[in-house]
């Protein structure tokens, strides 16, 4: 939440540099009474999830978009309400945001037994969930727009230019550069999934780099998202695996004592089945989360040093801006590379599961 204030401040500074001056006062919840900035709080706050979408803070006034909270409690049943009802520790129908403990920042309820628990089901449309919806809508409209462009033309027409040409370039890059060589036979069957995964990750990464609404949410840096993506790849790999693929896992070509009587190699291979999606999950998550954290930390330098004096603060602001610009550019690169790597590894795993029996 606060991080957005800071990001807005960063944006303001960038505007100032280009001559547009916006008098914006940045303040943050993470600034304690004596003016210290809790950097850890700021960063964790940003890369985590939230029930509202904080835009900025103007003076003491928080501007945020309330999002629906959808919870199902064992005692109170199904409840849907907007998140601004939970502002400043207020409770609504017995639901409130926990301020500490295991469920810090989450919606909890106090049962009649006096116990504080999470609702059984919490399907709240949180900031990241809303961001997923926005990104999905954006992705669908972009790709459908492009495909509409194509369905209105014939193959003998001119090649597309501009935006459609750019999307085509990306699609062809993934299609010809990753899917065809990595998957091998039957690549058309897997192309839609791999392309969807690539564009979903790439778009989410890019949206995450935009500091203000509708971007800025740490979507691909959240484990739930990367886990779902990795599970999809896991299913694509293992549901359509060939006989030869399963034979190589369960009865690999190793000396007999390594698979019988103790199935050493099969156990390792089966373990390997699950490490692959796990690696996919963590790689994407860690890369994006780290990028967001570093940019936030660099922005925080401004606030930390400003509390130490105007001169130091001013000069460090320039340094921080330079570093932030550099990091943002680097993150653009990472956004692309991580989408590329995820797609390529998925394609390679799928290709490995399509092996045919070959004579030695």
């Amino acid at each position: 939440m606060n991080s957005h204030t800071i990001r807005t401040y960063l944006l303001t500074m960038l505007f100032c540099l280009t001559g547009v001056c916006l008098p914006l006062q940045a303040s943050s919840n993470a600034v304690s009474e004596d003016g210290d900035v809790d950097i850890k709080e700021v960063i964790l706050d940003h890369i985590g999830d939230a029930y509202e979408w904080h835009i900025m803070t103007w003076g003491d006034h928080h501007i945020s978009i309330p999002l629906p909270v959808i919870v199902f409690s064992q005692e109170k049943g199904f409840h849907t309400f907007l998140s601004h009802k939970l502002h400043h520790g207020e409770s609504y129908n017995g639901f409130y945001l926990a301020t500490e403990g295991d469920h810090k920042g989450k919606v909890v309820e106090t049962l009649s037994t006096g116990e504080t628990v999470r609702p059984v089901i919490d399907l709240s449309l949180t900031k990241i969930a809303a961001s997923i919806l926005i990104n999905s809508l954006l992705l669908v409209s972009i790709i459908l727009f492009v495909s509409r462009w194509y369905s209105r033309r014939s193959a003998s027409d001119d090649a597309p230019r501009g935006f459609v040409g750019m999307i085509e370039m990306l699609i062809v890059m993934v299609y010809d550069g990753i899917i065809k060589p990595s998957v091998g036979k039957d690549y058309e069957r897997y192309a839609p999934y791999l392309l969807t995964a690539f564009f979903f990750i790439f778009l989410s990464n890019l949206m995450g780099l935009i500091p203000i609404f509708p971007g800025g949410a740490n979507v691909t840096g959240n484990i739930a998202i990367t886990l779902v993506l990795a599970i999809c790849t896991f299913l694509a790999v293992n549901l359509f695996g060939t006989r030869e693929y399963w034979r190589e896992i369960l009865w690999p070509d190793v000396p007999i004592w390594m698979k019988c009587p103790i199935p050493l190699m099969p156990v390792i291979e089966i373990f390997g089945l699950f490490t692959k999606p796990f690696a996919l999950t963590v790689r994407l998550l860690a890369n994006i989360m780290a990028g967001h954290s570093v940019i936030l930390a660099l922005v925080c330098i401004i606030f930390v040093t400003h509390s130490m004096g105007a001169l130091l603060g001013g000069s460090m602001t320039v340094v921080s801006l330079l570093f932030c610009t550099f990091m943002n550019v680097l993150e653009l690169l990472v956004a692309f590379i991580q989408a590329y790597v995820f797609t390529m590894l998925s394609a390679v795993f799928i290709g490995m599961s399509r092996v045919e029996h070959h004579e030695k």
Partner: protein, 164 residues
């Protein structure tokens, strides 16, 4: 730590939206585009092939034209050569004819001249004889008027005959 514990709500939203996105894009999005790109690639390949063929055909036509041109040039040369030969032959023949005819005419002329000459000579001879006779007559008419003169002549003639 909450950063590494997947939130069930988020998983639900992610599964739902990613599933819908995947379904929509796999049905109406990417296949349309990739098919079109493949079609265009095939079309470009075909166009290239057609262009190559057309080029080859053009090359053939050019070579054919050049061959035709060369052939025509050769024929032209032959015709010219033939014409020159014919011309030379005709001239030669004409010259030959002229020569023989000239010779013939010359011969004829010569014969005529010869004939004329003979006629003339005969004529001259006759005239000369006539003249001589005339002269002789005249002389005789003048000189033999007298007796004495006649006798002189007879004597002289007799002398001459005797001398012979």
């Amino acid at each position: 730590m909450s950063l590494f514990t997947p939130d069930v709500g988020l998983i639900f939203w992610m599964l739902l939206s990613f599933g819908i996105v995947f379904f929509v894009l796999a049905k109406w999005g990417f296949p349309v585009i990739t098919r079109m790109v493949d079609d265009r690639k095939r079309f470009i390949d075909q166009s290239l092939e057609a262009a190559r063929e057309a080029n080859a055909k053009l090359e053939g036509i050019k070579a054919e034209g050049e061959a035709l041109l060369a052939q025509a040039r050769e024929e032209q040369r032959l015709i010219l050569k033939d014409a020159a030969n014919t011309r030379d032959r005709i001239i030669e023949e004409a010259r030959e004819k002229a020569r023989t005819e000239g010779a013939l005419m010359l011969e004829e002329a010569r014969q005529q001249i010869q004939h004329e000459k003979e006629v003339a000579i005969r004529d001259i001879r006759r005239q000369t004889a006539e003249l001589a006779i005339e002269v002789a007559e005249k002389i005789m008419r003048t000189n033999l008027t007298t007796e004495r003169q006649q006798m002189n002549l007879v004597d002289r003639l007799l002398d001459e005959v005797e001398k012979n």
